[in-house]
Symmetry: C2
Subunit: 350 residues, 2 copies
Amino acid sequence: MDANKGKGDQGMQNPSGQMDRPVSFHFLESMLPKAVKRRVHALKRLQVQCANIEAKFYEEVHDLERKYSALYQPLFDKRRDIVTGTVEPTDEECEWHSDREEEEELAEEVKEKAAIEDAKKEEATPEEDPKGIPEFWLTIFKSVDMLSDMLQEHDEPILKHLKDIQVKFSEPGQPMSFTLEFHFEPNGYFNNAVLTKVYKMKSEPDASDPFSFEGPEIIDCEGCQIDWHKGKDVTVKTIKKKQKHKGRGTVRTVTKQVPNDSFFNFFNPVKASPDGEMDEDSEFTLATDFEIGHFFRERIVPRAVLYFTGEALEDDESFEEEELEEGDEEEQDEEGDEDEDDDGDFDPKA
Amino acid sequence: MDANKGKGDQGMQNPSGQMDRPVSFHFLESMLPKAVKRRVHALKRLQVQCANIEAKFYEEVHDLERKYSALYQPLFDKRRDIVTGTVEPTDEECEWHSDREEEEELAEEVKEKAAIEDAKKEEATPEEDPKGIPEFWLTIFKSVDMLSDMLQEHDEPILKHLKDIQVKFSEPGQPMSFTLEFHFEPNGYFNNAVLTKVYKMKSEPDASDPFSFEGPEIIDCEGCQIDWHKGKDVTVKTIKKKQKHKGRGTVRTVTKQVPNDSFFNFFNPVKASPDGEMDEDSEFTLATDFEIGHFFRERIVPRAVLYFTGEALEDDESFEEEELEEGDEEEQDEEGDEDEDDDGDFDPKA
C-alpha cells in the first residue's frame, strides 16, 4: 500500500493544519501559567527517564542482533563458498521457481533480453564456466553509488581478490561496536588476509540533549594497517616538484609521495577528535565514512546477492540520487585539496 | 555530524559512478554464463532463508517491545496523573536544570519571550492555576500536522476530555498487533470511557516477493463502536434534499444523514479487503490510517510532552511538509466526494 499517496489523502482534509502549530516551545511554555509550566517540567523529567529506558532497550536489540548474526553465519559461509567456487551447489540448491506470476514475467524479460544478448555472449563471457561467481564483490562495489563513489580504476584489480565481507559484533558486556572484515585471497598487492574496520557505537542519551536520542549511533571508527607490497600501495602517488634553493636560487626537482584517491583509504579514516573540534571537511568525510560503515552492515553484507543482481538497487535509488546531486556541488573543494602548488615547503619569494 | 553533507563529500569523488550500474538485474543475469547464473540462483535461495530468519528476529524485537512497554508504563501513568491533575508533582520532580549551555540559551529565550507575553498573560490565561495541564492532548492534536489534518472544529470540545492515550501490545504467542487506547473522562458526547483502534501486523516475507521484506508491517486495523449521546455524533451531518415524486412530479423535502469529516472517523476505518482488491481512494485512506496508527505508537505516545511543547516537531517537519504538498494535489477528489447532487436515489429526469 502506498504510504505517500496515503499521506496526500490525509494532508488534504486540512491543508492549513500547520497554522495551528505553536510558534516555538519556548514561546508556548512562556505563555503557560507558572503552576502548569511546573507540571510540564515534571513531564520532561519523566521523558528523560523514558530516554534512559529506551537506551537499555536498544542494548537488548543489539544483543538480539548478535544472537541472530550467529544464525545467519552458516548461510553467509555457504554464500562465500559458492562465490569463491569452493563449493558447487546441487541442482536442488539452484532451483529458482518461476511458478509465481511476478517471477514468470521476470523470466519472460530474461528470455527476451537473453536472446538479444546471445550474439554478444562470446566476447561478453569468453570462458563458459569460470570459477564460482567472478568479480562478485567488485560488481557490487561498481553497482552501489555509495561505494563506486570511492572506487578508483586502480582499486578494481585488487577488489577482484575480495572473497567475503563479514560483520562481527562486539562480545556481550563489551562496549557496543561492530567490525567489518574484508577477506582477501592471496594477492600481489598486500600481505593481509583480512582488512578490518571497527565502528564504535553509543547507545545512551546525550546529557546535553536527551530528547534527541533515537537509538545507537556510530561515534568513532578505526581502520587497520595495510601491509602493501613494495610499490603496490594505491593510496599514495609520487609526484615531481621543482624546488628553488632559498640561498643560491638554484632549482632542483624532487619527488614526493602524496595521498591518492582509493577505496583503500577506507582503512585509514580521519580520527574523530574527542573534544568534537573538527574542521568541516574532516567532519563531512567522517560522517560519510559512518554512513558507509552502516550501509555495509545493514544492507550490503546481509543481502549481497541482491546488490550483485541489482534487485536491491531500486530501493536505495532515490537516496543515491540525492547523494549524487550533493556530490556535484562539493566537487570544487576536492580539486582545491589536490592542488599541489599550495604545498607549504616551497617558497617562491626567497 | 551532518550525514547529508557527508554523502555530498563522498558523492564527489566519482559522480559518474551511476554509469557502472547494471541496466537491470534481468539484463545482467541474462549476460551470465549458465553455470554462474545457476550459482546466483543458489545465492538467491540462501537469501530467502535469510529473510525468514529476519522475520523471526523482528518477532523477538516485538517481544522486547512488549517487555519494555511494561517498564515505561509507570512513567506514562505518572504522566497521565499529572496531566489530569490527579497528582501534583513535588518541587523536586519539577526541577528542570538550566545548568547546561544549550538549556541556558533556551532559558534566555524563554525569559525574553515571557517578558513580551506578560502583558497579554491575563487574557491568555484567565485562571492562574488550572487543574493539571489543560488541553494537553488537544494541543498535541493541533500541533502535529498528521493529526490536525483530521481535526475538525467540532472535534475540539470532545478532545478536551481526552485523559490519556496508551499503546497495548498483543500477548505473547498471539498474532502480532498493537492497540491504541484513547481514555476519556466522563463527557457529554459518548458513553465509552475508552475508544480503541487495533492494528494487526505481519512479520513474514511475502511469498511472491520475499526480498522486499523489511520487517513487520501493518496489514489491517479495527475501530470500535462509539456510543454517542443522542444528536452528539459529529461523524454524521443531516442535510435537506428536494425529492421529486416519479409519477405525480410533486416535490417534497427530505432530510438524510451523510458522513461528516471528523477525527472520530478514525474509529470507523475502511475495511482492508482480503483479496487486496480496493479502489484507489480507499487504498489511500487506509494507507494514511496505517501511517497515523504507526505515528501514535512510535512518536506521540512515547514522547507526548515533546509534542505538547513543540520540541519534537522540528524532527518531523520535513516529513510533514512533504505531506502537505501532496495533500494539496489531492484536494479536488475530496470535494467531488462531498458533492451531494451526485446522490443516486434522486432522479431529475422522471
